[in-house]
Symmetry: C2
Subunit: 460 residues, 2 copies
């Protein structure tokens, strides 16, 4: 029996001597609109436009028809709008609903900085709920968005194995992003912001297990709601650990097998994470986008009927198979996780928008006929945004397409015009062409907007 003397420093939540969370919080509380480069401001405009389009397209999804009656029964104080539904709920419920609507079509923006975070769904669903209650100008909204991107993406960089561990980052990092964004909108001080980060991070959840179910987009909504609650509690004097990200039992260490907490502070104030945001030309996970570019290109070159095709040889990065390798999707939600379905509809329809991932399209005879002929191989030399496809006819004729960088990535971004076209396609049916044009015009001048509630009124 060897007795071991105890150290008094060995406290459950002991400090490791880093100041990562406090330094991040101080930065978030301190920066001003005038500090932002034009690239960050313009990307905020693009992201608001794209995200509101996604939310207005998603708001009538069957998932929302299940969610909203439950939230209505719970919510008594109408404080914020559910976009496109003519409905107002409490702040937490509206944030949840809009976050879910923004993500349900898998069409919302995706960060390209090594962290697979769909940041705008949790961030904007959260801050727009608060903005509707309190009012704020466009520049305050832009600062809040920027703060959310910084906190969410950088927390993700502190936890390199976070995605591989099975987490859905839009739930986990989304909570932190939404909490930071709301803290900025509420103009919390550095200490309160550190607490808001702590309260947000300790609600962070969402498993990849739920891909293809209603829970996937619920993660985005819940993250938004968690963020609103975190910032309001911090404003109300609620505290948390000061070392939420870097502590011994903090975010980086418990949500990842390796931890790099100091990465949070890397080039803070120089590299603005929002400038590395990407947008989706297709309504499914970004890992599918390069092969969809290839299939659309092949379909546009020569549209064969499935019966005339012997096989399609698809070559992709391994993630496209690992995340979206489902062979026989039965529903629209599941079809977003099937490279076979997605490649088939992209060829047949020369598109992979909302209409290509419905229950009906997942069961359509032409799609089933073609998806059975698609053979997928992993090319270990391919980058994540790279793919190639060959259509082989019955007579053995081969047509080839190779995509070095998928559209919508930082290397091959969607133009402002393409984002605006996507917005109109997403919104015209819900709000009408005239109101869609008004919304777009207002967002392109977001930094000049005196009261964000004018924008929200058009979206309600």
């Amino acid at each position: 029996m060897a007795l071991q003397p105890a150290s008094k420093a060995d406290y459950g939540a002991a400090s490791l001597g880093l100041n990562v969370t406090r330094d991040l919080a101080a930065f978030l509380a301190r920066f001003r609109y005038a500090d932002l480069p034009e690239a960050a401001i313009h990307e905020a405009r693009r992201s608001v436009l794209d995200w509101i389009g996604c939310a207005l397209a998603g708001c009538r999804h069957p998932t929302l028809d299940r969610l909203l009656p439950v939230l209505e029964a719970l919510s008594g104080k109408p404080q914020a709008s559910v976009f496109g539904r003519g409905l107002r709920l409490g702040l937490l419920e509206a944030a949840l609903a809009n976050g879910q609507a923004g993500h349900v079509l898998d069409y919302d923006d995706t960060h390209m900085g090594g962290v697979v975070l769909h940041a705008s769904s949790p961030i904007l669903a959260a801050v727009l709920a608060l903005a509707e209650r309190d009012g704020c100008d466009g520049r305050t909204l832009i600062c809040a968005m920027v703060a959310g991107f910084e906190a969410g993406v950088r927390a993700g960089q502190s936890a390199p194995d976070h995605h591989d561990g099975g987490w859905h980052l839009t739930g986990t990092l989304g909570s932190i992003a939404a909490g930071a964004a709301c803290a900025k909108l509420l103009a919390l001080d550095a200490q309160q912001t550190a607490y808001a980060l702590g309260i947000a991070a300790t609600q962070a959840a969402g498993m990849q297990q739920h891909r293809g179910t209603m829970c996937k987009s619920f993660h985005a909504g819940k993250a938004a709601s968690n963020g609103v609650l975190a910032a309001l509690l911090a404003q109300g004097g609620f505290d948390s650990s000061q070392e939420t990200i870097e502590g011994k039992r903090g975010f980086a260490r418990i949500y990842s097998r390796t931890a790099m907490p100091e990465a949070v502070l890397d080039r803070l104030g120089e590299r603005w994470e929002i400038t590395r945001n990407g947008h989706k030309p297709y309504a499914c996970g970004v890992v599918l986008h390069p092969i969809l570019d290839a299939m659309v290109a092949l379909g546009e070159r020569r549209a064969l009927a499935p019966a005339d095709i012997a096989k399609v040889e698809a070559r992709v990065h391994e993630m496209a198979v690992r995340i979206t390798g489902l062979g026989d999707p039965a529903t629209g939600l599941q079809s977003k996780f099937s490279i076979y379905h997605a490649a088939a509809v992209a060829y047949l329809d020369r598109a992979a928008a909302v209409a290509q991932f419905t229950d009906a399209r997942a069961a359509a005879p032409d799609v089933l006929a073609l998806r059975g002929k698609i053979e997928v191989t992993v090319d270990p030399d391919f980058a994540k945004d790279e793919a190639a496809a060959v259509v082989v006819t019955a007579s053995g004729e081969r047509t080839v397409a190779h995509i070095p960088h998928a559209s919508g990535t930082v290397a091959n971004p969607m133009s402002d015009g393409a984002i605006e076209n996507k917005f109109f396609a997403n919104t015209t049916q819900t709000v009408g062409a005239e109101r869609a044009r008004q919304i777009a015009a207002m967002i392109w001048k977001l930094d000049k907007l005196d009261d964000v509630r004018d924008l929200i009124k058009l979206c309600g």
Copy 2:
């Protein structure tokens, strides 16, 4: 370049061929009050009594004074009572507040089945909110509690490294427990119950990093709120993965480095987890209880002033140091994580109840004088519920106490009378002696109660 052919089975959320979550859900939906052994029913009575006492003692804690104004501003529809505050909030807000109040004093029950879960705070805060809205009899409440214990504890058993990984199990497992309990209260069918487990688990969060801050008890409240939302969504037709616990990217695998999903089903229906619940004679973590038994015994034997004591030699299990090794607690909340503070007050006051863990007592001169003389060593041969202490006087006289099994454990349980005495001590100040007696009498006959709202009325 070696191309790798992809398997169509390699779907992100692929099945592993187990039916753990579905089988658990089917069991939870199926069992009836008549299936329960008397030991489970009686432990439900004891747990309700003890927990309501903790909530009524905790409801005036400063943490609640920060929480409640924020929740009141968010909540518009008064549906459920915040115990002891004369306040009604929405279901989610009331569940959050009562869950936090039940746990804030670290005085609530602790499961003794290898999973450190304070189950009643999330479970009862959740189901009592629903019971107040809908009404139900005492037997339905007991069944809901039993279901919550089964799901929460068994999910924990599927993830053996979950606690060591840094998670606060009352937040994580508490969400699952609360979701299962609410599903049972709402009489959801097997399929809906599986979804409720999925929606609850995908909100599961809470880091140990926040020990000693307001977030620790927030985890219990948030778990309760998550569980209510999960069950209501499942009732409303919301879906989730069917393999939430055992799936490739499910609970057991992402919340733990080793996974034993099949443990969930071990002796299901034979071993009722609620029968292994423990109760706290002291208002702090169970890892401290054996040394507190020793210090109380020493203080009762001979109460020396700190000046007359040369040193105290404390020997404990390593967890007591790892979790509660803080040397210099500055606040009442922190003092619960200081074996030095706790051992000192237990000796001086012959108690370690709520009054021993206040900001004032953490700064009291007699406590500071004695805690500086306490030397802690880890004894690798000690069980978790074992400790020894020696008080050494200035003249070298040694008084020894050895505790083989701490009070409040399964091996040395608190008697019904001791639990009732703790309840009266916890509640008399908040609700008065007469009402406290009425509440206790009603809970001892919980299985005969026609409408749980009669009980809730007495606690509001």
